[in-house]
Symmetry: C2
């Protein structure tokens, strides 16, 4: 088992990564200190892991099972979590435990942040994407019809517990979508991780435990480092959104039905890398390497043909827009992401025309 | 004009108290720095002050007018504020300005705390209760059918701007309800304020500007001092809930229709003082003084006859309940509130029987 620490100044918490944590009664008893727990999960994850987890938890445990999927990531669904907390008469000392992927974690975290103005919260991510990205760093929230994650809170968990055994039941497509976020860390932060991914993608796709554990640990390390420096995304943290402005536009324009989040982010990274090349920030070989690794990870490299104008319109609802300018995360070189607010608009137009 | 500072460590902000601030273009321009403002108000306040305020604000100003009253203090109504922010394409640099009483301020604050995980927020309270209490200290939120203020955030405003001219249009009953919270500060913190209120209640009820300005300034000073020491209510801040546990039970049991918040709090203070006396914490003369000042302020001193058992049930949904015990704010002497978790249950039962 690997344990890392996230330190954001006002609070610090552990990330534990390992096999079988969900069924390890003693370990759980040592790491979850709450008399009252509400396990929030969904209809897909509950039949797989809820009974096993409940069996190994101490204290009073209630549950709240949500419908599965991004379309349910709404304020209304969070209202159901509040209803569950109230109906079980949970007080300020209660803890919400999120068992599931990013959607479950984002909503359970926002509910914990807001119930009684903040109660404890533990992330137990069961997808690769949640284990390497969304469960770490304290971003919580829901979508609004006007855009993704428009409503939420920065709210750090008490702990992140990533049981790698849960990846065994993950559909192939979701595994690959999670790999897109791992590739992201290589692109924006760590060229050695990029090289390692280039050489070991086959092992990851074959779900080799050791390879997956390394990819998760290194991703969490990088995310923890970035978040420690800039919890509220005033500057550095924005680089973690590499591929996300284009990706969110792709997801929104296709009503969140055609692409998984990680797939859209993978495509967004390709588009952002293409723009970085057009702007003269990187060499053609770097663009080629990014495209190649996405193909190796069996991620889509064709964007939906929604038209450049519509893509731009959706991009403008992105949270990184300041005073009307779309700020973008681009690559300065492989392993270094930068946030750029001023760039040649014709280069952006050319990139958008090529992909959309 | 009086200006105070609230300093909660991670942020500090001014409270400005004075006549005509809402119509002072230069002063507003110097204190509100935002290109994009959403003014959140309600159907009662909008016809009185919205046009005048808009006329004196610079920048792009949009508005969101909510229905009036505590029954609308819900997650659904906050959803309408999100809709307004999205439809006006407001970004991270936008500011929400709450123009109204406590309900408007609590909801606008929660919306600002949650929109894009937190945008700027200014309180412009127009009721005495909001000017002396709810606009200061960063408690925001909405009610749930299971209890008051169960959903929300600690979120400090950028500034509190209290224009005492707005009290001219306040109904008498709401003025008196606001005085209950001023009396509270005397009871729990400042015996000299209590004496001053005892001697000047007639001036306050007659809306003497100087007397009101003093009462507001001193109340804000005390609240700022308490909040500075304990923003998140881990210990000291709980004394500000003097009268509130009983008061919330009264409001909830009568479906928020019979008593204004301040009226219920006034009654709750009387009940808490009675219990303090029964527990031997204070003399009979103190109980008598608290009752007398509530009568002077023309506040109700008769609780609704809901029965002791039902009152206790509602009290148990209070956020101060920890592991099943109802913690109460009691008086140790006039001018000193204390939070007590262990007390003789028969004394509580006797008090509840007498009042309910």
């Amino acid at each position: 088992m690997h344990t890392l620490q996230v330190d954001v100044g006002h609070t610090r918490y552990p990330i534990a990564i390992g096999a079988g944590l969900l069924r390890n009664r003693d370990w759980l008893a040592n790491h979850i200190h709450a008399h009252d727990l509400l396990v929030v999960t969904n209809t897909v994850v509950a039949p797989l892991y809820l009974a096993a987890l409940r069996e190994h938890l101490a204290g009073r445990v209630a549950e709240c099972i949500l419908p599965d999927g991004e379309p349910y990531k709404t304020l209304q669904t969070v209202g159901w979590i509040f209803d569950a907390l109230v109906s079980h008469k949970m007080n300020r000392d209660a803890v919400v435990l999120a068992l599931g992927g990013g959607v479950v974690g984002d909503m359970a975290g926002f509910a914990a942040a807001s119930y009684q103005r903040g109660i404890g919260f533990i992330q137990m991510p069961t997808t690769l994407l949640a284990q390497v990205d969304s469960s770490v760093g304290g971003k919580t929230g829901v979508n609004h019809s006007g855009g993704k994650n428009l409503i939420g809170a920065f709210y750090q968990p008490l702990a992140v517990i990533a049981d790698t055994d849960t990846l065994a039941t993950l559909p192939d497509r979701e595994l690959r979508a999670g790999l897109a976020e791992v590739i992201k860390y290589g692109c924006i932060w760590d060229p050695l991780l990029f090289d390692w991914l280039d050489n070991n993608m086959g092992l990851l796709l074959a779900r080799d435990t050791e390879a997956l554990t390394y990819a998760i640990s290194r991703s969490c390390e990088i995310k923890a480092t970035v978040v420690a420096q800039d919890e509220r995304e005033h500057h550095l943290r924005a680089i973690l959104n590499f591929g996300h402005t284009f990706g969110h536009a792709i997801e929104a324009a296709t009503a969140y039905t055609q692409y998984l989040h990680g797939e859209a982010v993978g495509l967004g990274m390709l588009i952002a890398t293409d723009l970085s090349y057009r702007l003269g920030l990187i060499e053609a070989v770097t663009l080629d390497r990014v495209k190649t690794i996405l193909v190796k990870a069996e991620l889509p490299t064709q964007a939906p043909r929604i038209g450049a104008a519509r893509a731009l319109e959706w991009m403008k609802m992105d949270k990184k827009v300041l005073a009307g300018t779309v700020r973008l995360v681009l690559l300065e070189k492989l392993g270094r992401g930068v946030v750029i607010g001023h760039y040649a608009q014709d280069a952006l137009a050319a990139t958008l025309s090529e992909y959309f």
